[in-house]
Amino acid sequence: MGLAAALNTGKTSLFSNQKSIEIAGNNIANVNTEGYSRQKAVYSDFPSLEFGGFFVGQGVKITAITREYDVFVSEQLLDKSQTLGNEDAKSTPLAELERVFSITEDNLATEIDRFFDSWQELSANPSGQVERDIVIQRGELLASAFSTVSSELDNVSSNINETILSEVDAVNLKLTQIADLNGRIQTIEANGQSANSFRDQRDVLLQEVTYTLGAQSYEEPSGAVNIQLPGGLPLVQNSSALEFEAISQGDSLTLNLNIGSSTFEVTGKNLGGKFAGLLELRDEFIPSLEQDLDLTAYSLVQEVNKLHEAATGLDGSTGVSFFNNPGNHTSQSYADPDLDAFSSGSFTITVAGVENTITFDPNGDGTNGSLNDLENIIDTAGIGVDASVQQDDDGGYVLSLVPQTFNDSVQIDMSDIGGSYEAPEFTMADMSDLMSMSLTEASKVAAGNSSAPGDNTNALAISALKDANAVNGEDTFVSFYGKMAASVGIEAGQNRLSQSGAEDALTQLQNLRDGTSGVSLEEEMISLIKYQRGFEASAKLLSTVDEMLVSVLSIKS
């Protein structure tokens, strides 16, 4: 082996060290780049050649630049991202709901208390004009408090829709970018190179998409990542991506996914992450709160009107409604309208103060009857209400009663005909929103059971409603509000706990990831020194060989 070969060895070492310094420089430059994985040169020596019975090395070469990467930690990161996305998404609407169902001095419960307190106040001076005006005013304030809560719930829903709508474009862009990166990575890696920075970029996007959609991903041998929704719908395959389409109609917003010629509606159940959290609140939690609120308003209006209509105003008027009566009375949902699930018996429907007792014995032999039988019997009884069986949003069947005369009060007691299905109990959708006063004249406020100015019997009876278990027969109006507020509180508290847990976990995982893939300045500095020294030594080698060559050449002269 000659000196020229030694020169060559020095050259490879010089180049390799220089390259390593460049890599260290690049690592330092990207020390704060999100998702950047530290790169490292992989050295190997050139194959040795045999010279005079000895194997002598031929120098060094960089065979690859790899990134330091831990698949396990990356998978964990994706998993926690989707949990965090879910909890993050809920935190803002839940904070809003906590404000709506406030427990400070000014909330719906206080308004309910004040309303019944005004009746108690009236009982001390039943003919007082001021006390009567206060009762009417408190009624108006109560009605508007109910509609405020109801419309604020609607607001939270529509804010959720806005949030989804504003994110759909960004999500679609990210999906397209991932598909794009898939293509590039495949092209580069087909040539045996590693597409380090593209993979880093894709990892960041993947984490973001998982955060938003809870999408699941798996890598193919070709290097492409396929993404699908938790429900199994594909989003990205190789270099092609599907797009979400948000369709907003009035107050409602649906997410569609177009696969070929067919369109799939995506609901909270098909999704994870942020969107699932939002849709879960919008489609399950808020509607159940609305239902409870409507039931409270319905029960309050029914109970107050029942007593008020039976009593007498100062001007001798009776049968006057205090609040406007519900426009329809809808039962809970039943699975099968033809199933003979109601036991025969009798029930009462009081329409505008006239009590009708209806015997329910559809087969004439004391056997059970179905929801449709019930509807028929009420309809044919001709008592001033139209009955119908309707299908609700969830596919169940409800019994709906509508008074034939507008604003007629309808009091229904079907508690005796419960069989394998529970006896129908009634409420009205949107009651809280529609609640309003019917009474306007102070002299028509029915404080007593006679028009005598000192008669306070009915004022006492109405004020006693505050302690009656009037909602579902289990709760007072205020304690039912307390239940609603508590359910919001539990949900929000749990959310806050899970959110901070997920944040902590994510911080830990990111630290773990940085432990492998992160850039440590100390490490880079040390590599810098290391490769600088290597470079200097290579240079020394070259100059030494050069001196040796000069010595050799000087022999001749």
Binding site: V31, N32, L94, E98, R99, F101, S102, I103, T104, E105, A109, D113, R114, D117, Q120, E121, S123, A124, N125, S127, S450, A452, P453, G454, D455, N456, L460, A464, K466, D467, V478, S479, Y481, G482, K483, A485, A486, S487, V488, G489, I490, E491, A492, G493, R496, S500, E503, D504, T507, Q510, L512, D514, G515, G518, V519, S520, L521, M525, I526, I529
Partner: protein, 460 residues
């Protein structure tokens, strides 16, 4: 595993964030003094807090109702005191009239005094508080006692006003005027008032007349028929007298069969509207019993409409007539009054029957006998007792109200303590925690500041 600069900063950042958010919560608690600011702060506390607030509001109202009730009872008590005093001075006057050997002029002065006492009693009975009559039941905007000649009628109702003093507990805040002043209550639950006690106004009227020396006389008042019977006018020899037309004249008699006399000292003839004497016939009531005047009074107290013997009195002003043969009246005249078929030929019946007499306004004349002064003294005493016992009852009520109020004020304190336990922050705890957290924050900031001061760059 290596620790990079980002790792250090990320961890410090997370730590600082969490300390800061803790600190914010604590500072909020210190500033508001409440630890229950939103439902998630303590979902289990919501129900007790709301229910405590409801109860506090209700208790406040109960206390205010009780104060109203106490005021009303105070007012009422002073009027009852006045009524009692009036009855005491009536009694003094009556004793004066019995004991002294008074001249007629003196007695008339004493009688006038009783007249004033009666007028004053009437104004007490019509007492108003805050524009509302307190002895009128629910009819608080109507003067309950109306004087018409010698008689007083009640225009209110017998409801008692009640206020809620605790959940489901009611306290009576007024007295039934009819029972208190007129001794009338619905004892048999038929919705019509019966005489069960003393009529203060009647007693005072009788007293006034008795002092004037009219005891034993009958006068026309809207009261009751004499309880004893009816006879026919007789001549000096005790035979039934025959008038110019050859008819007998029915007159009212007392229990001994002596004729009753009116204020002029004349006997009281029972006549038809035309002024003709009546040929009477036995009448039986709906139970088939012979209708004596006593029974008539029981069945038919003033103001009550009763049917008997097939005849329904249409209203209280509708006089009641009987045929001589007891069949119902068939005809009515143009004024709507029943016309009596008088059969002269039949002669007087063996048994004397009941009948109503007509006033000038065609209302039934009912006669009453003025008791003696002696018997009135006893009556007066029991009348005063009636007032006293009512006053005692209300006094007990007032005492109960005081106790209830004290109790409720105690309850209010308890409720506020419960509420406070759930929603108020313990400031000492909170401030201690703030200090701790601030120390932690200072340490974290300190460390964060020093992270970059130690760098490999300084050693190269």
């Amino acid at each position: 595993m290596k620790s990079t600069q980002s790792t250090t900063y990320r961890s410090l950042n997370a730590e600082l964030n969490s300390i800061n958010s803790n600190l914010e919560t604590l500072r909020n608690q210190a500033a508001t003094g409440k630890k229950l600011l939103r439902p998630s702060d303590d979902p289990a506390a919501i129900r007790p807090v709301l229910s405590a607030r409801t109860q506090i509001r209700a208790t406040d109202r109960f206390i205010s109702s009780l104060s109203t009730a106490a005021d009303r009872l105070d007012n009422q008590d002073s009027y009852l005191d006045q009524a009692e005093n009036l009855l005491v001075s009536a009694k003094e006057t009556a004793i004066n009239a019995i004991n002294g050997s008074m001249s007629e002029a003196d007695l008339n002065t004493l009688a006038d005094q009783i007249g004033y006492i009666k007028t004053e009693m009437l104004s007490v009975a019509n007492a108003q508080v805050g524009g509302q009559y307190i002895f009128a039941g629910y009819q608080e905007d109507t003067a309950p006692f109306v004087e018409d000649g010698d008689t007083v009628s009640y225009q209110g109702d017998s409801n008692v006003k009640k206020l809620e003093s605790a959940p489901g507990e009611y306290v009576q805040t007024n007295l039934d005027g009819a029972k208190l002043f007129m001794g009338m209550s619905d004892s048999d639950g038929d919705g019509v008032l019966e005489q069960t006690g003393m009529n203060v106004f009647e007693v005072l009227t009788n007293l006034e007349r008795a002092i004037r020396g009219e005891s034993g006389q009958v006068y026309n008042g809207n009261d009751a028929l004499p309880a004893d019977g009816i006879d026919y006018r007789r001549d000096a020899s005790g035979e039934i007298a025959v008038d110019g037309n050859g008819n007998y004249t029915p007159i009212a008699v007392d229990g001994s069969g002596n004729p009753l006399v009116d204020s002029s000292g004349n006997d009281v003839p029972l006549l038809t509207t035309e002024g003709a004497p009546i040929n009477l016939h036995t009448a039986t009531d709906t139970d088939g019993k012979v209708l004596t005047i006593e029974r008539y009074n029981t069945l038919n107290p003033p103001g009550v409409v009763t049917a008997f013997d097939g005849i329904t009195a249409l209203d209280t002003t509708q006089p009641m007539y009987l045929h001589s043969d007891g069949t119902p009246v068939a005809d009515f005249n143009a004024a709507g009054e029943p016309v009596l078929t008088y059969e002269e030929s039949a002669g007087p019946p063996a048994v004397i029957a009941a009948v109503s007499l007509l006033n000038s306004d065609s209302s039934p004349v009912q006669l009453t006998e003025i008791p003696t002064l002696d018997s009135l003294l006893t009556t007066l005493e029991s009348t005063a007792d009636q007032t006293r016992s009512a006053r005692g009852l209300m006094g007990n009520n007032a005492e109960r109200i005081d106790t209830s109020k004290e109790h409720l004020e105690g309850v209010l304190v308890d409720l506020e303590q419960i509420l406070s336990r759930y929603e108020d922050a313990d400031l000492i705890d909170v401030i201690t925690e703030i200090t701790q957290t601030e120390t932690a924050l200072e340490a974290a900031l300190n460390v964060t500041g020093k992270v970059s001061s130690l760098s490999i760059m300084d050693y190269l």
